[in-house]
């Protein structure tokens, strides 16, 4: 399948799912006693209603979701259930924050890449912990990555009240990033930052790596049938898996550092509104295709931007969108699994 065709196929699927999502949302709104039309229109306005909405609400949210979605996709393609993108993202942001404090006077074309890479590496290291636990001790990564999410959360909480706290010691957050080290804004008057270029480039790179390189092929083979990969392919499965953990963590960490240098310019508690978890839906809905992730991340960016507007303008709790996201995952699961029952087999 060519890149264009798969992007188009994903977009089509995304639109169908979008329609279903809106329907589910409407049901939820009615169930919780909110007026549907005002709420939905607030949502649409918040996501696409204006030039500012599109660039500074939707696309801006698409960036971390896409990077985290890529992280999850790569892991899932290898058969690794990385639910720890949230923690890896946080650790990435923390590392980015920490290192930016040491870059006084460094020009932006060195400083920014250093910050981004530091964040990515921290994310990779965080994921490597789960990788080592699985490969050395057989610990299911589902559980270990979730546990590490909590640890990362508490770690961040400590950092912003301790070593990384801003000098006046009033607020639990870090000092603001120096303007010259912030990612340049692409369109004046908006918050759309260069991170979106990073995302697109990285997505293409990941896509190319998976389809065209030997290491990408090995990752896919291991994810498909590890026993055959080892026996017929002579592939070092543990090594390939560890590599996948690393790459996945790198991407999630990068999401954290991009978010830091592009939007927040500071580290604080609740830095991530659950991007790492939403990224799972982003990845699944894109059928784990790196380019498809761009489309589904855009959808979820719109949903979340719209949700915030919905809360602000129509008083609907923005967490309702997590419900929609979860239901979308279940829908995808159901669509993949449903088949007419085999009436002849006495179904047990």
């Amino acid at each position: 399948m060519t890149a264009l065709r798969s992007f188009a196929a994903t977009t089509a699927r995304v639109l169908v799912l979008l329609a279903i999502a809106i329907a589910m949302l409407a049901v939820l709104l009615i169930a919780t006693g909110h007026e549907v039309i005002p709420a939905l229109s607030a949502m649409v306005r918040g996501a696409f209603g204006s030039y500012y909405a599109i660039t500074s609400a939707t696309i801006v949210r698409m960036v971390p979701l896409a990077l985290a979605g890529l992280a999850v996709s790569v892991a899932f393609r290898a058969g690794i259930l990385n639910i720890g993108a949230e923690g890896q993202l946080l650790v990435g942001a923390a590392a980015a924050t920490a290192i930016s404090g040491t870059l006084g006077g460094v020009p932006w074309f060195i400083g920014i890449p250093v910050i981004l890479v530091a964040g990515a590496m921290a994310g990779g290291a965080w994921a490597a912990i789960a990788g080592a636990l699985r490969l050395r001790f057989g610990v299911l990564e589902v559980i270990s990555t979730i546990m590490l999410n909590f640890v990362a959360q508490y770690l961040t909480g400590w950092l912003v009240r301790g070593p990384l706290q801003e000098p006046t010691r009033v607020n639990p957050q870090s000092v603001t990033l120096a303007p010259e080290l912030q990612l340049p804004v692409l369109l004046e008057g908006t918050r759309l930052h260069a991170g979106v270029l990073v995302v697109v480039l990285v997505a293409i790179a990941v896509w190319w790596w998976l389809r065209s390189t030997a290491s990408g092929f090995r990752l896919r083979a291991v994810g498909a049938t590890p026993t055959a990969a080892a026996s017929a392919g002579g592939i070092d499965v543990p090594r390939t898996l560890f590599g996948a953990f690393l790459v996945s963590g790198l991407l999630a960490g990068l999401a954290g550092s991009v978010e830091y240098t592009g939007i927040t310019y500071a580290l604080y508690e609740n830095f991530s509104p659950g991007y790492g978890y939403t990224a799972i839906a982003v990845a699944l809905l894109a059928r784990l295709h790196p380019l498809g992730v761009l489309a589904t991340a855009l959808l979820f960016g719109a949903l979340e931007a719209g949700a915030n507007a919905m809360q602000r303008d129509a008083g609907v709790p923005n967490v309702v969108v997590s419900v929609v996201e979860a239901l979308l995952i279940l829908l995808v699961l159901a669509a993949d699994r449903w088949r007419p029952s085999r009436a002849d087999e006495t179904g047990t």
């Binding site: 026993t227 026996s231 392919g233 002579g234 006495t346």
Partner: protein
């Protein structure tokens, strides 16, 4: 309580049973009549539909067409519990025992209410004693040898007040002596008034013990006869399609009759012609080069148990070495050491850099089912490849393999899953042969294949041998080993012994490790 019907009366009757799985007609007019107090052998090649037919009887499958009668009344079995309630028991080919539970617990499974281990143990001892079987109720299944596990399965079936016992390929996993013991038991059990359906593809076993024989071919009953009214030749003929079927062998243009006489001859051949073959071939090739060499190789598994013990085996270019062994004798590990997939824990090994390997479970170990065929080709050697993949080259090589080995597929883009078992096997074989020029190791090559595919695989193996490759074949079917091999080795409990190329010698060596030729040493060929 189910009472035994008068001997001779028809207990179970199947008429015109037909069933398709998608486009595959698994059953196409199968019929069967089982009398009380008799042993009824259900024969046929792999894939003939024997197991499928019995699944209908046991309530695991509802047939799309045809009728079943039990004691004269038309009936449909809706589930295994339904079948059990009517007095039909089944011992499956693959045991359905929970390894970590005891024999008593396994046998009690499916009951209701409270469970008393003491009571359950007593009951097991009673049933076993009555049937003339020895079994320890408190042993954990995972600790029992295969023969004992099978006895557990049988007692499990008998515990349910059974009048018709179905046994699916019971001798497939047994050593020859254990198999003989089981057949004796079956005869005794039937003589006591019970009915037995024995599913098997082994002619000899069937004729030794059955009262009636039914042969299935491609889902249809092609022969039904009392055992005493027929002979091995006629039954073999029926198993291969009977006189009515005259399909040319697509691959080589040979007629079925030729194939039939070949196979029949091979199956019934005696040691003289076998040995003469070996001697002739040896004389023809002077000083063959050793391609695969194992010297005092041992392989220890993850639990610290030596699966292969000090095995010495040399395989030369241009020969097929056959290995016979009962399940779990270490052949799995031996084959993988020969193929370079596993490293020895002791001893010396000398093998070429790339050895082809066709494993028994191709779905698990050889193929990416949901990937296109060209990716499956690329799988070979993927571990060592660096840099960028040349997909054009891979596609070209794939097309070449599809053509050369007559793999029926819509193209290199087809998903591996869409190929039939035979074509998947041909693909794997082709891929391995193209990649490894010097040596090939094959494990149960005809598993799950029908006769035509099996023949194609055998042909390819012989061609590889004739082209100068060193080939090692292991099959759980002794006849296949004897059919293909130039030299034969038996594996017993981790040790490897060369044997005379004769069924009894091989069987004895497999079971007891009794030496065949040369006390385990293979220096020279003094057959």
């Amino acid at each position: 309580m189910v009472t035994a019907a008068p001997t001779g009366a028809v207990l179970l009757s199947l008429d015109g049973i037909a069933h398709s799985f998608g486009r595959v007609r698994a059953l196409d007019g199968a019929s069967l009549q089982v009398r009380a107090g008799s042993v009824h052998a259900l024969l046929g090649e792999n894939g003939a539909g024997k197991t499928t037919l019995m699944r209908v009887v046991f309530g695991l499958l509802r047939a799309q067409h045809g009728v079943m009668h039990w004691r004269g009344t038309p009936i449909t079995m809706r589930s295994p519990s339904d079948a059990l309630a009517h007095g039909i028991g089944m011992v499956h080919q693959h045991f359905t025992l929970v390894p970590s539970m005891t024999v008593a617990e396994n046998i009690a499974l499916g009951g209701h209410g409270g469970f008393d281990p003491q009571q359950a143990a007593t009951r097991v001892r009673d049933i076993a004693a009555r049937a003339g079987l020895v079994l320890d109720p408190n042993a954990h299944v995972e600790d029992l040898p295969i023969g004992a596990q099978q006895r557990c399965e049988i007692v499990k079936a008998l515990a349910r007040d059974v009048t018709l016992l179905i046994l699916d390929e019971p001798t497939a996993v047994l050593a020859p002596a254990e198999a003989a013991e089981l057949l004796r038991w079956i005869r005794g059990y039937a003589d006591a008034g019970n009915a037995v359906v024995l599913i098997t593809h082994k002619l000899r076993d069937a004729l030794a013990v059955a009262d009636d024989i039914t042969v299935l071919h491609r889902g249809r009953t092609v022969l039904t006869t009392p055992a005493r009214d027929t002979d091995q030749g006629r039954v073999a003929d029926a198993m291969l399609g009977g006189a009515a079927v005259r399909t040319a062998d697509v691959l080589t243009g040979r007629d079925v009759t030729d194939i039939v006489s070949d196979v029949t001859t091979d199956v019934i051949t005696d040691v003289v012609s076998g040995a003469a073959d070996v001697v002739n071939r040896r004389a023809a090739s002077a000083l063959p080069r050793t391609v695969l060499a194992l010297d005092a190789v041992s392989v220890r598994d993850a639990n610290g148990v030596d699966r292969v013990r000090s095995a010495t085996l040399h395989v030369h270019a241009g020969e097929i070495v056959g290995i016979g062994a009962v399940e779990g004798a270490g052949q799995r590990e031996l084959l993988r050491v020969l193929a370079g997939r596993l490293s020895p824990t002791a001893g010396r090994r000398a093998i070429p850099e790339s050895v082809g390997f066709v494993p028994e479970d191709r779905h698990r170990d050889a193929l990416l089912l949901d990937a296109p065929l060209f990716e499956n080709t690329a799988l070979q050697g993927a571990g060592a490849r660096r840099g960028v993949m040349d997909w054009n080259d891979v596609r070209a090589r794939t097309s070449a393999v599809l053509h050369r080995y007559d793999v029926r597929a819509s193209g290199a883009e087809a998903l591996a899953r869409t190929l039939s078992g035979g074509n998947q096997q041909k693909l794997v074989l082709g891929r391995e042969l193209e990649a490894a020029r010097e040596a090939l190791v094959v494990e149960n090559p005809s598993r799950g294949l029908d006769f035509v595919a099996t023949d194609a695989v055998h042909r390819a193996l012989r061609a590889a041998r004739d082209a100068g490759m060193a080939v090692v074949v292991y099959s759980s079917d002794l006849d296949e080993v004897l059919l293909l091999a130039d030299r034969v080795f038996a594996m017993h409990d981790g040790t490897v012994i060369e044997c005379a190329k004769h069924r009894d010698a091989l069987g004895r060596a497999m079971l007891s490790g009794a030496s065949g030729i040369g006390n385990g040493m293979t220096a020279g060929i003094d057959a």
